[in-house]
């Protein structure tokens, strides 16, 4: 599904070139659950952003579903974001002045789903994550774990095939983190492809495959032992 070949990402300053990613080759198949690990500044987030079409590599090839995903027009990128991928973040990134319901509804509105269908879909998601009673609350009134659940609900509302998670448990207690990871695992079992960036060795183990980045280079690409 995702095929990265010789991806470089660098920044030129006056006298030298700083590499964030160097010669990264990566293939991710549909249905995989990949954890990317590495120290701060090793290029994990940059790699995730490139996969999520939020950043462009300086060199290399990126094939998404056998189609080159470089040099896309804005409309094509937006189509991928609408129909193909969902994002979750360390800081949840919910819209503060919108309720839980409205937050989950947002991607559906941009997807031009009809009001009736929208209501049904959001209701299903609320039901699935046991948040029906909280649908009219604002993000700040929820615990971190619940906010992240809303984040996941919003990310999967548009029925994407790929879920990109940038340290989804970074701000959470370990018990809440575990709940989030269990949720991701369930989603993966249902067929969702997931790529997550994490610092936590234990949570990385929820993935079926662990990629270790160091200084922008893939050091290890191993099967998870769990």
């Amino acid at each position: 599904m995702i095929h990265l070949t010789d991806i470089d990402k660098y920044y030129d300053s006056r006298f030298q070139r700083t590499f964030v990613l160097k010669a990264v080759n990566l293939e991710v198949k549909e249905g995989e659950f990949v954890s990317i690990m590495g120290p701060s500044g090793s290029g994990k987030s940059t790699l995730l952003n490139i996969i999520g079409l939020l950043d462009k590599p300086s060199a290399g090839q990126y094939m998404l579903f056998d189609k080159s995903a470089l040099d896309l027009k804005e409309k094509e990128t937006v189509d991928y974001h609408r129909n193909f991928m969902g994002f979750i973040f360390q800081a949840y990134h919910l819209i503060e002045d919108m309720t839980v319901y409205e937050n989950i509804e947002t991607p559906l509105m941009y997807k031009n789903v009809k009001v009736r269908d929208r209501q049904a879909m959001v209701a299903d998601l609320l039901d699935r994550f046991n948040m029906v009673a909280k649908k009219d609350l604002f993000p700040q009134q929820l615990s971190g774990g619940q906010q992240q659940l809303v984040g996941i609900a919003r990310a999967i509302a548009g029925k994407p095939r790929l879920l990109l998670a940038d340290e989804p448990t970074g701000n959470l207690h370990s018990s809440q983190g575990e709940m989030i990871m269990e949720t991701l695992k369930t989603l993966n079992n249902e067929g969702m492809t997931i790529i997550q960036v994490t610092h936590n060795e234990k949570f990385a183990g929820y993935g079926k495959r662990i990629i270790r980045l160091e200084d922008g280079i893939i050091r290890k690409d191993e099967k998870s032992r769990l």
Partner: protein, 141 residues
């Protein structure tokens, strides 16, 4: 003084010139404050704009979302200002024996002009906010 006498010959009195000048200054100051307002809103909504883009919003949709609020503001301002303007102008025109009609299109034109200037002021900032890469808007917490 030469200019004034020329204008006078053409039937333009100094009160017209002063009125025009004051009008221009008022419009300029109003545009400045509008510019400041949209700058503030764009900055305070940077994060929200980034989130919306990640959830599939197009640049054009963000642009419209930001501009819509200001169109509403201008329309409200117009609705408040129009009756007063009519009243004052009507009173003032009573001073003349031969006078022009206060037809509706003068108000429509003024309203459209105000809307145009407001949009021009606002669009620049909105466009900048809408085209910003979400990665950058969401990086700092």
């Amino acid at each position: 003084m030469a200019i004034r006498s020329i204008l006078k010959n053409k039937g333009v009195s100094s009160i017209n010139i002063v009125g025009l000048a004051i009008g221009m200054i008022a419009l300029f100051i109003a545009s400045l404050s509008l510019f400041g307002l949209v700058l503030m809103i764009a900055v305070s909504r940077t994060k929200e704009i980034g989130i919306r883009k990640l959830n599939g919003a197009r640049v054009s949709e963000i642009f419209m979302m930001l501009n819509k609020d200001f169109i509403i503001l201008v329309v409200i301002a117009f609705v408040v200002a129009a009756p007063f303007t009519w009243l004052v102008m009507h009173q003032w025109l009573q001073n003349f024996a031969y006078k022009t009609e206060l037809s509706w299109w003068i108000f429509a034109l003024a309203g459209l002009l105000a809307l145009g200037i407001a949009l021009l002021t606002v669009s620049f900032q909105s466009y900048k906010a809408a085209t910003k890469n979400p990665v950058e808007s969401l990086r700092y917490e």
